[in-house]
Amino acid sequence: MAPGLTEGSQQRWLLTLLMVAIVALSLVPSLRLLFEALGDLAQGGEAPLWRVLQAESTWRALWRSLHTSGLGMLIALALGSLFAFVITLTDIRGKAWLVFCFMLPMMIPPQVTALSWLQLFGPASPLLKSIGMAPPLGSPQPLYSAEGIALLLGIQSAPLVFLALRTSLLSLPRELVEAARISGARQAQVWGQIILPVSRGGLIAGGAMAFISSLGNFGIPAMLGIPAGYYVLPTLIYQRMASFGTGVLAEMASLSLLIGVLALAGVALQQAWMKRSRFGLVGHSGRAHDFLLGRWRGGVTALLVTVLLAILVAPLAALVVSSLVPAMGVPLTWETATLNAYHEVVGRQGATWRAVRNSLWLAGGAAVVLMLCSLPLAYRLQRLPQRWQSLALSAIELPYALPGVVLAVACILLFVRPIPVVNVALYGTLGLIFVAYLARFLVVCLKPVAAGLAQLDPSLEEAAQLAGAGPWRRLGGIVLPLVAPALFAGGLLVFLLAVNELTVSALLWSAGNETLGVLIFNLDEGGESVLAAAVSVLVVMMVATLMLALSLLAPRLPKGVVPWQG
């Protein structure tokens, strides 16, 4: 009797703990918003929710959000899977560097990317000017369009797809590919008919994250959409924020509800797709690549390098250039070049270093904490009945889909007073931002892990179970090493996303608790774009250094954990 009971209660305990974590982290902010949105319903036809629902602009923005996010997701899928496939499965050279460079664009604030592209293809483009192809001043800018927005959204979220898919590909048994090839399938057919469908789990997970993160993105549609009069939900919400009236919060909450509904629809769709791709893969490939590119190698390499030039080198160069000039708009020459901006930001009242320290702590802490709880959570979720699983996943997905400001508002509403029972005041401390990050990025860490788990050959765990390993033991000894690449990919994504995060911390920071994103944004907003660029360059350099340092640890970590190590 006793053992069975203990077992049951241990599992239940695990379950309860995790549920509490999910609820606390994910559901509560969303519910608080719901409360806010529905709070004024008593006003009848004048209630903000009705107003919002009746406004034509709402539905237009909703449609445009869908449109740009969907398109952005497709672009992210194309870019991310191109890199994932080529780098994971072929014998292309310089893999480490390709991966490394592909991850870095996440570090460049989207506004910066947008601006550098605008400059690059605008009338003042140094590049186009030098070849005499610069469009005349004031000619229409093609990036100011839905497609422009989608393009940048896609580039921004491509690494999400890349990492999710890569972990999925790493566990692809090579026999499956070989069986297709010996059947006479050409390489293209093998990709399309075997590899793609089998790694669908990772692809869907990555695509979903790309979609959701595009849905909640503010910077890019603000930069590119407003000039074109193209408003999506996050920009519409920001616009509501700029109003003064009392109903502002309720209206914002109502709009966020729509995003929430969209996200949930996305989750439902994704689950429907996932259901058909849930198969444990028997066997575990320890092999780096299956495909010899042969004479295609040069072409493929050139393609990847071109993509990298566009998404990394161009914006990065623009960033460096704008950090070296004395003021915005001054052309960079030997005479004008100056390091003043760097002197200024490094020497400035310690704010830069404080922000660096804060952001590193926040991002690193969030990554570590989320990695620690993602595995048991994903593990437990996988064993939940389908319906509960969908619900829990939806709850987790919400905070990431909501625009950052909205989540921040929810956090303020929740935490401005000390937390009841424990009487801890989070408001005005870094702790609040930390909690908000945990809620927001949980899904980013969880998704790849869940996809990896779904692909795991169940008999591997069963063997350990029969050997006498309890749930925790199995988790640590068997499951963890097997999904370690996914787990680290998740942690890495969280870190990269959080270290530059702006929209959440913009509302939650306080003096002494600024983050890098806030610092850069404030500088930019105060018209000090040059300083902002200098800080951005420093951040990119710092993160790149950290990423490289991680490579030194790679030999001590399970295989495949550091994406840019073979």
């Binding site: 407003i226 003064f244 001054v330 509302l507």
Partner: protein, 303 residues
């Protein structure tokens, strides 16, 4: 304990300077300040109020329209500062709920590489400027909203002006920073923007120039006000007095803004105070028309 909580939308370094100067004058008061964009700051304030907490003692933000609406909702408290005597009556609330501290005017900026040098608002709607002008959106920026209200109320420009801008393919950016960047980077040669950005950056070498158009400029005043539930009322009043004092106004000028105090010399790059024609603006009626203005803008420029 003498702790004063200040919410301000001044840029980081300006806020720091203001606080430092105040602390130099009143070493016994401890200041805790939060700086953010007006929009963010207001959202934050709204959230706090909605949760039933009033965090700041003093606000130093945005424009009179925001202050007016806070006043109507009863979130501000009146204080008749002895310093107000020096100021023009339209710069502060007669009951003492808020006081303008500086003038951030909206005028025209152009890239020095551009063909033309506009001198009036009228010029921007001429065909030569078709597709060449960018401006901040009133849907996002308070200053732009006030600007729109002022233009609409101007007899010479009036209601048709924004339609004409739209017909001339003028583009809207989110905020003033975006407009300035676009002009400085050359992607648009002309822009409608707040004064201090181009003036300050031009001094550093940026290829832009700022123009105070003939018809006059609109202005936001970055008012200071005391919150209703201020915990440290005495310090809050000291702060209001300080920013309105001559010393405080000198600092404003040093920071590169047009001071509200008529006797303080404007910073370099600005014309003399009395050369600047301000388009008159009635805050009350502007506030009443807010929704309508935004609606119009949204219809014209999308949103």
């Amino acid at each position: 304990n003498e702790k004063l909580v200040l919410y301000t939308s001044q840029p980081n370094s300006d806020a720091q300077q203001t606080v430092d100067a105040f602390r130099a004058a009143h070493p016994d008061v401890e200041v805790e300040w939060v700086r953010d964009g007006t929009t963010q700051l207001m959202t934050r304030l709204r959230s706090e109020l909605s949760a039933g907490v009033s965090n700041p003692d003093v606000l130093l933000i945005a424009d009179s329209m925001t202050m007016e609406s806070l006043k109507r909702e009863g979130h501000l408290q009146a204080y008749l500062s002895p310093e107000r005597e020096a100021y023009a009556a339209e710069l502060y609330d007669p009951e003492g709920y808020y006081y303008g501290t500086k003038l951030i005017t909206t005028g025209i900026v152009y890239n020095t590489g551009a063909e033309r040098q506009p001198h009036s608002w009228q010029e921007l709607i001429q065909p030569e400027y078709a597709g060449q002008v960018t401006m901040p959106s009133p849907l996002y920026s308070g200053a732009a909203l006030i600007h729109m209200a002022a233009i609409e109320a101007h007899p010479g420009l009036g209601e048709g002006y924004y339609e004409a801008l739209q017909a001339n393919r003028t583009e809207a950016q989110g905020g003033n920073g975006g407009v300035f960047n676009a002009v400085a980077a050359g992607s648009k040669p002309y822009g409608i923007v707040v004064d201090f950005l181009p003036i300050r950056e031009a001094a550093k070498g940026s290829p832009v120039a700022f123009v105070f158009p003939e018809e006059g400029v609109s202005a936001v005043t970055e008012p200071v006000a005391i919150m209703q539930g201020a915990r440290n009322l005495e310090a809050a009043q000291k702060f209001v007095d300080f920013v309105l004092s001559r010393e405080g106004q000198e600092l404003v000028s040093e920071q590169g803004y047009l001071p509200a105090h008529p006797e303080v010399t404007p910073p370099e790059g600005f014309p003399a105070r009395d050369e600047i024609a301000l388009m008159p603006l009635d805050t009350q009626s502007a506030l009443a028309r807010e929704a309508e203005l935004k609606q119009r803008f949204g219809d014209l420029f999308g949103g």
